[in-house]
Symmetry: C2
Subunit: 147 residues, 2 copies
DNA sequence: TTCCTTGCAAACGATTTGCATTGGA
DNA sequence: TCCAATGCAAATCGTTTGCAAGGAA
């Protein structure tokens, strides 16, 4: 299930937006909260205790994305992966396995993160671009695929 | 058209691999070489002087990807974007517009790049992951979308 | 000739949508 | 009661593939 803290934050946010926090949406948030990293809709579906049709999952994910509760990621083998937004899980980056397509979260030290931020502002300043976010993707081979 | 230098490098690489550098494949390389950043197959198609069916473009892109001449990117609104590989264009990062989905290349200074590399090795060392590459994605709003 | 490439159309997988039904405030 | 949420089936969209025709070595 979802950690109580996260669940409360989500409930509050949705209530502010006048959006219902239904059983289906709770299931989605709980499923994502239990993952180690962003997951595809099919993966998410398979982790749910109560079966929910894909179309409903997509609809819930869409609502939750617009509410800023989940973030979609497109870096991979065909299917979009979803995870809880960073204000719920903390800022992090991704290890992407080029072999199997799996994605795992990784956190970096605050001084490294500060370095990244500085780099991003410097870059954005030089171009005509209003940067709001950044993400470092590290590609390589995961332990599983290497053996 | 493709810059002569690039074209020659591509021709040489393909010849080494025993793969033909056909008119269709030249058109793809030229189309990508003229772009400002990674483009979708549909975008690529629209820039070609001679019309080429999508299926052929996908097949050419597949061959060229396997030959290491083009790199696919999945960070965006649904469709995969392709661009020439970095050994042809130089290492760079991406500015991704969260509003319209466009992606533009951006280069960073060598000292900043060195910082990134160090960061990546440090992170990979701490986890069970064989890092081979990295890419920094900066999300925000492009000039067009901001006005 | 022989193998690789291309076009066209059909097939596919991921995601979206129309519509009737269900459920919650 | 009344509108939002859900399930199911059909529709879309990006991408892949089978197969027959075209080309280069």
């Amino acid at each position: 299930m979802t950690n109580a803290q996260t669940d409360k934050q989500v409930a509050h946010r949705l209530s502010d937006l006048g959006v219902r926090y239904t059983a289906g949406r709770r299931a989605v948030v709980a499923g994502l909260a239990n993952g180690e990293g962003p997951m595809t809709v099919t993966e998410l579906q398979s982790t749910l205790s109560v079966p929910i049709p894909l179309s409903s999952l997509y609809r819930s994910l869409s609502v939750l994305s617009e509410a800023g509760i989940v973030s979609p990621h497109h870096s991979g083998h065909g299917a979009t992966r979803f995870e809880l937004a960073e204000w719920l899980t903390g800022h992090h980056h991704h290890l992407v396995c080029v072999s199997c397509g799996s994605v795992n979260d990784i956190e970096i030290s605050s001084d490294h993160e500060q370095g990244l931020k500085d780099l991003v502002s410097a870059l954005a300043a030089g171009s005509d671009f209003a940067a709001t976010d950044h993400s470092l993707e590290i590609d390589g081979e995961c332990r599983e695929c290497r053996r």
